[in-house]
Structures are given as C-alpha cells and as structure tokens.
Amino acid sequence: MERGGEMGNVKSNAGGGYGSAAVGQKDGQEGVEETVVRVLSEGPPELFESWLEGLRSFEGGDSSSSSRPAPIGANELRERGKELLPAFARLFASVSADEESPDGAEASAALRREVSAGLIEQGLTAGELAAVVFSLKYAVLETVRSEATTGRGLDAECMRVSKVIDEFAYSLFESISRMREEVIALQQRSLLELSTPVIQLWDEIELMPLIGMIDTGRAQQMIERLLNSIVETQSRVVVLDVTGVPIIDTDVARHLFKTVAAARMLGAEVIVTGIRPEAAQTLVRLGIDLETLRTSGTLWSGVARAFRLIGKQVAPLDEGGQ
C-alpha cells in the first residue's frame, strides 16, 4: 500500500516531465528524455567510469570492508552493464507505458524480477548488490546531467530515472529476502527431520534419540512422527533417549508425558532413557512426578529393558549355546 502511494506521487512528477521533454523536441534539440534513453542504451564510457568510482566510494564508506576488494571488477561491471542498461532503458520506457495499462506495469514488474534474479545469481551479497545498483543510479543521473543539452524537464526526468532504479532496487531486495527466507525455511525443515529420527532397533522396538532443545513445535512434530512410526512398524516398545537434550524443564517434561500418554494409547510402552543427574535433580526440585514414566539411566539399560518387555534378552553367546 505504502509503495503504491509513493509510486503515484512520483508518477505525477514524471507526467509533468513528458510535457517538458516534448517542448525540448520541438526546439529541434535532443530532449532530456532522449538523452536518458541514449545514455541507458548506449552506456557511454563516462557512465562506467562514474559507476566504478561510485562503487569504490560505496566500498570505502563501509569501514568493515576497507580491506575487501571491490565486489565486481571493471570488466565484469561492463559485462553486467551490457545486460543491465538495456533492461533499465526498457523499464524507463515502461514508466510512461504503465500509466495507461496495468499490463505495462505487470510487464515491467516481470522484467524487474527477471533482472533481479540474474543479478542475485552472481553470488554478490546484499550490500554489494546495493552498492552496484545505487552507484549506477548516481552514475546515470550524473551522466544525464552532464550530457543534457537543455535544462528543461531535467529534474522531472531525473526523478523518473530515480524512480525506475529505486523500484528496481525494491524488487531486488524483495527477491533477496524472499530467497533467504526460502533457504531458512528449507534448512529449518531439514533440521527438524534430522533432529528427530526414528530408528527401528529390533523387531518390535523403536529408538528415538532426541538431540537439541525441545520446543513446542518440535515436540509436536516429534510426537506425530513417533506415533505414525509406531503404527507403521507395529512396535510394542519405544525407547526415548534424551541424552542429547541439554535442558529438561517443566515444558520438556510435559512434552515427554504427552508423548508417553499418546504412545500408550496406541498400545506401545515408552522407556525414557538418558535423564542426566542434573536433570533428575531439577525435575525432582520442580516437583514433577516422573514415577509414572518408565525411566532408565542409560540407553543400554533402557534397551535391555525393552527387550525384556517383548520377552527377549541379550545373553552371552557361550552361555546361550550351552
């Protein structure tokens, strides 16, 4: 909403600009609009120089990056510029077009997204991309200012250039943050999957080692996975190992109780193993009654108990053989 309003403001300014440019044309001179289009589509050497210079000053302005080389070399910048500038030229042209048709606005939005995606793929950081885009803006404005043969409509056209580049920057950063969010969500999912494996230990025994902090979201996911896996493998005993859980407080205890209650309803017994001495002390001090839970000190004693529950035992080979 906010952005829409902003666009409206700039647009009306830009609208005034076209008239001025038209007056310039009538005089037989090159209007400011044509200058902008020419600068953008031809990309004169002065533009690149000014762009590089701007880029360097951006870099210097950032104290942490003083020792870092420029994010993008002069040659690479020229290569990129060859793709970027015509795109900006088209965007610039579409600013007038999108006043009439929403299709134009959509097309330029698509173009912005496309160019953004191309830039992001270069592997530059958000800060570096900002430096590239905004130093380009100053370079274009400067070049247009020095090349313009008439002062008429210069301000309006400059506003228009600013608007085109700012809108592009907006869409660029939107794309960046969206991509980052996607990556974060993906990592979170895979982390969840990784952190709650269910291992079939024996015919009717399942082992679920818990590693890391248990919050409500994880607990929920953990219970669901465990229950589904119990039904899938028809396991009668589940060993829930909490050795890797750093803190066991009231919340974690509540989740454990819930897990045990739910698994019991399915008909599976749960043995909780690996409650460390500190955790045991905390739980007792907190007044949490763990009596209803089957607990074992270590994983192996828990597993031995699980075997007994399904009527099996681990015995030495020679004794078993004799």
Binding site: E224, L227, Q234, A262, A263, M265, L266, G267
Partner: protein, 128 residues
C-alpha cells in the same frame, strides 16, 4: 445400526466400523456389558481402528465401559487407536486411564488372554 459383538472362546470382540454418535456410543456400552454378562466372557477386545475422531465424550464412554466390564468380571483391551486420536486425547490431558491398549487386534487378543491367565494364576495363588 448396531455394532456386532462376536464371541471368540471366552473373549468378546467388537469392532467399531463407523463414527459413533453419543447415543450410539451409550447403546454400544450397554449392549457390550449385557453381552459380557450373559456370555460370561472373561475378556473384551474393542477395535477402534476405524475411528478418526474420538471426542471427550466417547473417551469417557470407553473409560466407563472398561470400569463397568471390570465389575461384571471381564478385562478390556482397546486396540487400534489412530495416532491423531491419541495425540488429540493426550493434548486434552485425557488419557484412556484404566483401559489397556494394544496396537492391533492380534496384540489386543494376546494381551487380553495374558491378563485373563494372570487373573486365573492369582486366583489359584490365593486359594493355595
């Protein structure tokens, strides 16, 4: 529609195949207890695999049925509780307390027979 109650030796078997209304649940409860009483069954297995939703009322009916069957001398095992059902009931803090559970019908039958055997054993012990 009545829920069929099958006799399998000294064990009764009832499989709920459709979502229960409150009325149907209560009707099933009294049917089951009467059947247990008249057949002198020692154990009852109730299979609720087909139930996708178990609300607090149905959970209470199941609980009560367990206690009632205990009174007429039969042990009860509920089997086939679906994971989402177990999760919802655990979230509500309402466990099926007092009712033994099993993963499937096979294990349910096995469990109820074991419980009956244990009862018989205890009875003999007390006589000696």
């Amino acid at each position: 529609m009545k829920i069929p109650i099958l006799k399998l030796g000294d064990v009764l078997l009832a499989s709920i195949q459709f979502e229960l209304t409150d009325g149907a649940a209560l009707e099933f409860q009294s049917d089951l207890i009467q059947a247990a009483e008249s057949t002198r069954a020692q154990g009852v297995v109730v299979d609720i695999t087909a139930l996708e939703v178990v609300d607090t009322f149905i959970a209470r009916v199941i609980n009560d049925t367990g206690s009632m069957l205990q009174l007429v001398g039969a042990r009860v095992v509920v089997c086939g509780i679906q994971p989402p059902v177990a999760l919802t009931l655990a979230e509500m803090g309402r466990e099926l307390i007092g009712v033994e559970t099993a993963l499937n019908l096979e294990q349910g039958l096995e469990k109820v027979r074991r419980m009956i055997a244990l009862d018989v054993h205890e009875l003999r012990e007390s006589r000696n």
